[in-house]
Symmetry: C2
Subunit: 237 residues, 2 copies
């Protein structure tokens, strides 16, 4: 069985460093538990910790002044969050809330800061992790700007499935309200968008999605949205 330490060593922030560089910091961490729906930290709160998820799911969100929330990331085991603010001694740019029963390793911002100061290897690893985070955000932006809801779902499902070809069944890792938020739409729209994938061989039953042909779905996910209706017309003719 995997111990908190083992998991933490695999986290983004530490993945690129030898064990002995990460251990001193991990050893200072405290295991923390959060129930479903519990707030881990608030947006704008002074950053006090870096968190590494041991198990469970956590969402990061931005709250608008008007009260609507935009989900920025959905994280699970071996992911970390809060490091950006913790490193610079700023306040958190997003709120964090656990969406399942969750265990985390909480590492004090001050410990993190002194470790970075003393260990260039660790600093480079954090830099690398930040760049990875950057790429994820860019991917999300690209999806939002140039794909329809149905295409974003297709991309999401494809990200869950390991196969690169043929048939595949995936389990939706969290509830549809959260998936909708993550993909930038409302639950109602998600529900309808799922149904639009049916012609492309996708069936949803409860929290299981079966993909008849991964290739076909990939093609749909990458397709030019403006051609979708005419393509559909051609296809069905």
């Amino acid at each position: 069985m995997t111990s908190p330490t083992d998991i933490a060593l695999q986290a983004q922030v530490f993945r690129a460093v030898p064990k002995d560089h990460a251990m001193p910091l991990i050893a200072k961490g405290v295991v923390k538990e959060a129930g479903r729906g519990a707030s881990i930290h608030l947006q704008g709160e002074r950053a006090h910790s870096l968190y590494i998820i041991l198990d469970g799911w956590v969402k990061l969100y931005r709250m608008s002044p008007c009260g609507s929330e935009a989900i920025v990331a959905v994280l699970t085991s071996e992911d970390n969050f809060g490091e950006a603010a913790a490193i610079r001694g700023e306040s958190y740019a997003t709120g964090a809330e656990s969406v399942t029963e969750t265990h985390m390793l909480q590492i004090d911002a001050h410990d993190l800061w002194t470790s970075i100061e003393q260990d260039p290897v660790l600093c480079r690893s954090l830099l690398s992790a930040a760049i990875t985070g950057n790429r994820a955000l860019v991917h999300q932006l690209e999806q939002l700007k140039s794909h329809t809801g149905a295409q974003r779902i297709a991309d999401f499902l494809l990200g869950l499935c390991k196969e690169e070809t043929g048939e595949c069944t995936v389990v939706l890792p969290y509830d549809k309200v959260l998936i909708a938020g993550w993909l930038g739409m409302k639950p109602e729209s998600l529900s309808r968008a799922f149904r639009r994938l049916a012609p492309y061989g996708v069936k949803i039953v409860k929290d299981r999605a079966t993909i008849q042909s991964v290739e076909r779905l990939v093609e749909f996910a990458d397709e030019d949205p403006s051609l979708s209706w005419s393509a559909k017309t051609c296809r069905t003719n």
Copy 2:
């Protein structure tokens, strides 16, 4: 007058480091010129350089397989790009194209890498710059996910204007096709969305926008989109 060196010292990546840490790298840089519409590097190309913009404007974009482009950033003097890929010896995650006559300082990826290895202070500065970039992306995501086109324009205009209250005139820094792409919409939609701001005291003439009341515009930009029509109804009654 400001020399390339002076500008480079103010760049994101170097802002947080003492001059003598940045100078060795800057000294190795080469000034490069690019005409309007020139490609600086392609998405997927092996990263060879970090660039610091001396003057002009550069857009970073993602190209979908279907050919549509999503603009991820629009940068100008003192901004830098390409460092993420250069640091890790990967390929560029985005393409870069100059949208005006542009001068840049080009720094070799290998030089960058060795400097980081040797100088922890520089590494921390890059980390900090990456985090800043992250925040910008998160802000863009928030805008896209929970604001209408008109609200995103309002946010964009407010970002251009220094005043925090009262009246203000801003000059649009680049053409409307690019603004539209940056805000995640088509030029036609931008044009119409501009007109929607008229009731809130915004007038566009050519490339000049005059804001009658910054406060009013801020209020509109933060407003819950779902309330906009009823609010408008109330307002006009």
